[in-house]
Every structure is written in C-alpha cells, then in structure tokens.
Symmetry: none
Subunit: 250 residues, 2 copies
C-alpha cells in the first residue's frame, strides 16, 4: 500500500517488498511460518541488509508480518481464510495520490427524498454524482455524493464532474472545500452493512446481494450546515476499515 509514483522505476526495496508481499498473499508462508532472515534475503537479492529492512518496514505497516527480535519474521496471514486484507480503507483514502476517481454518473439534478432529508433540505431536490475509486486499476469503492442545490450548482463548472469517464485523484470534498465561504468543520460518519445493488455489483465485480461495508459521511461547515452526503460501498472481503486510536497525546 505504499505509494510509488507510477512513472518512475521501482526501487530495490520496493521490489523486495512486492515479491515478499505476493508470496505471503499467495500463502507461501501460511500459518505464520517464518520468512527468510534479513541476511538470507539480502544475499539472495544481492542487496544490503538495510535495503531488506526497508522492505520489511512496508510489510510491517501493511500488517502482513510480525517481527520478533532474536527469533525472526513471521507472516500474519492465514491461508485457510479468504480474507485478503492487503490494505485498509483508511490507507487508501488517505493518499489521494494513490487512488483514482472515475466518474460513472455525471453531476446532475435528482430527486432523492432520503438524501435531501439527511442534508436538512426542505425540498427533495439534490445534485448527485457517482464514481468509483480504484487502486492499481482495481476498483475498491463505489460512491454516490449528494449535494444541496446551491453547492451542486457551484460545482457545475468543474469539468471533472460533468465529463463522461473523467478521471482524477482529487476528492469531492476537497473541491467543495476550496469553493465554500465557510470551510468544512466536521464530518459525521456512520458504518453499517449494506447489500450490493445491481449497479454496485457491476462496478465492484461481486455478485448482487453481497454484503458490503457501507460508509456514510455527512460533512458540515463551520455554521453547522450540511454541504455533502457521501455514501460509499466497500467490498469487505478485500478491504477492512482499520482505525488506530491513541491515548496520551504529549
């Protein structure tokens, strides 16, 4: 899940990390088996031990391995399950440079009573745009964004949202935040289980009715006015939602 700009050549440690990641995900080190030592990998790849260590730091951050001083490095994955969580939603959303947005339904005026209600509107009219988010050409998330009419009209000048199949690595809320008088101050997020509709299943490549992770986010500006409602579906077999909470900020 580490970065890498697409254009540049892959560095040594990235190659090591990529190959080890593939082997782990393929179950070569299933049941927590031990990986080769730093020294062994360094000699077999013809790189220094530091380079191998750098690769392991990525695998560690990905949660794929456990390292125990004096003992060795062990894979965390159990091959007997289907669960391939080689990343988290947070990781993927965090680096917008890593994920690509492809518009599937252009920004348009729609009638949506539920969305309008959650946006605190009096009428039933909202502006909606739908898109998929991909990482490495693999779509992992389908989203629909609903906006109050005035916000929707504000964004109607954005070519990204009004051109078929257009791609970007921006975020909608980023676009909105730039143009708003009052900036975004707060978001309310709710995570539930949802089912894949026909269109969602088509985009994610799963079957209709599959249980998906559904994440709703309602963004509010400093005046506590809702400015965006985003409803996203994630395939939870591929991606889990991971959060790290810390205590003691000092």
């Amino acid at each position: 899940m580490r970065f890498v700009a697409s254009g540049t050549r892959e560095s040594s440690y990235q190659k090591v990390a990529r190959e080890l990641r593939g082997q782990i995900l393929q179950g070569l080190y299933a049941n927590g088996r031990q990986l080769p030592t730093e020294f062994a990998l360094a000699t077999s790849y013809g790189v220094s031990r530091q380079t191998v260590r750098r690769a392991f730091q990525d695998l560690l951050a990905d949660g794929l391995v456990t390292r125990i001083p004096g003992r060795g490095t062990f894979a965390k994955m159990k091959s007997d399950t289907y669960i391939r969580q080689f990343g988290s939603v947070e990781d993927l959303m965090a680096l917008s440079t890593d994920t690509q947005l492809t518009v599937t339904s252009l920004l348009n005026r729609k009638i949506d009573i539920i969305a309008a209600g959650r946006l605190g509107l009096d009428s039933d009219v909202v502006y909606q745009v739908s898109f998929i988010r991909s990482h490495d050409q693999t779509p992992f998330c389908v989203s629909t964004v609903s906006l109050p009419p005035e916000v929707g009209q504000m964004l109607s000048s954005e070519k990204l949202l009004t051109t078929t199949g257009s791609q970007s690595n921006a975020t909608i809320i980023g676009l909105i935040d730039k143009q708003l008088k009052d900036p975004i101050a707060e978001a309310q997020q709710s995570i539930t289980v949802g089912r894949a509709s026909e269109s969602v299943a088509g985009h994610l490549g799963c079957e209709v009715g599959t249980s998906l992770l559904r994440i709703d986010r309602l963004y509010l500006d400093t005046r506590n006015k809702p400015v965006e409602l985003a409803t996203s579906y994630f395939d939870s077999e591929l991606y889990s939602y991971r959060i790290r909470l810390r205590r003691d900020i000092s």
Copy 2:
C-alpha cells in the same frame, strides 16, 4: 502498529517521532505548515539525519505528514484530502454508561489458535469470556474477549467475569486498565462484515447467516504488548458505528 520491543528505554527516533507527533496533534503545524527539515531536526536533537528519517517513517505510516522531495515535510492538511480520524481510547472505554453487559460464558482457559496469534502469543492458550451488550433490555452486540494467560489470571479475581449471568455497566478493558502495570496506550480497530453463527444469532435474535457488523479491537499497552483482543458482532439493523470527525481550525 509500530514494532518493537519492549520494556527497554525509548529509542532516539521514537523520542523524535513522539515529540513531533504531539506537536502536530496539538496543531503546531496546522493548516499543512512545513515541519523543520531533516537536517534541522537532526542538529537540534543531536542525532543523525538517518535517525530523523526513521522517525518520519513512523509519522508517514500514521498518516500525519506528507513528504515531498525537494520541498519538505508537511503536516497533513485535513482540507486537501479529507478529514482525519480522531477518536480516542477514552471514547471506547466510556462506551459503558448507557449499555449493560451480561456475561454469557465465564472467563476460562481456552485453546484458540487465531486469537493467540493475534495476541502475539507463542502458545495457543488464551483466556476467554463472552458477553452481550444491551441497551433498554435489547441486546445489540455479542462480544468475545481473548486475553493473554497472565492477564486472564489477573482478572480471575473479578466476580463479574466468574459468576453466571452477572451484569454490569463496566467494560473489560476498563477492568484491565486498572490492574495493569503498563497502561493501555493504543487500540487497533478493524471493521468488516461478518455472518451470524448459531450462538451469535441466538443471542441477537436474528437468523443464522445474517450479515453483521464485525468489529475487532486489539488493545496494546505502552510497551506495545497486546493485552486484549475483543471480537464483537453488531446487528447493523439496530446499531451503526458512528464517528464524529472534527477539524482543527487554527
């Protein structure tokens, strides 16, 4: 997720990372302001540039900074990407006031390879206790808590966990935190979709196989040692996981 080991003194790069993390979270570098360069930090802390780089790798993995070659290191601005997660361990511990816990399976020694693995144990022996959480006499959550043997034995004096059908509005992690030498410092939470087993379905009053929200929490103490693994199933019809994300305006 970060590494290592253990009872020893804090290392140099950890100190640098900790202090920078605190400063960022306190808003010292709010609005995406630039942090000192590697060289500046190295000289001011009296360490090498490599050590500063090691610290930045942790902050990068935490998603707290963005680094741009040729430009510098910047605190992640919440506006140009999205609003970041700021829950706290305290929030999780305070879950208890309006919900009630009923023990369904007493604290006991069990064999659980998966739980033991996630707790980083060498053997397969863990202590487990199961319970349901109710609100207004309606159960909405079924949890199983796995503990390392030494923690389990520590809690074996708690009447709550060793008496059939006992009720309380405490949290297990709260009980643990009181007795631990090293307090809880961090929690890793993973949210996925799970299916109701026979026993879970029985307690929640839903059908076997129903899709449920599954939340796994791994609590770590200040020495990064796992002390509790909680696996909970929520009926997503009754309960959705809500988070409020605030933005630091400063």
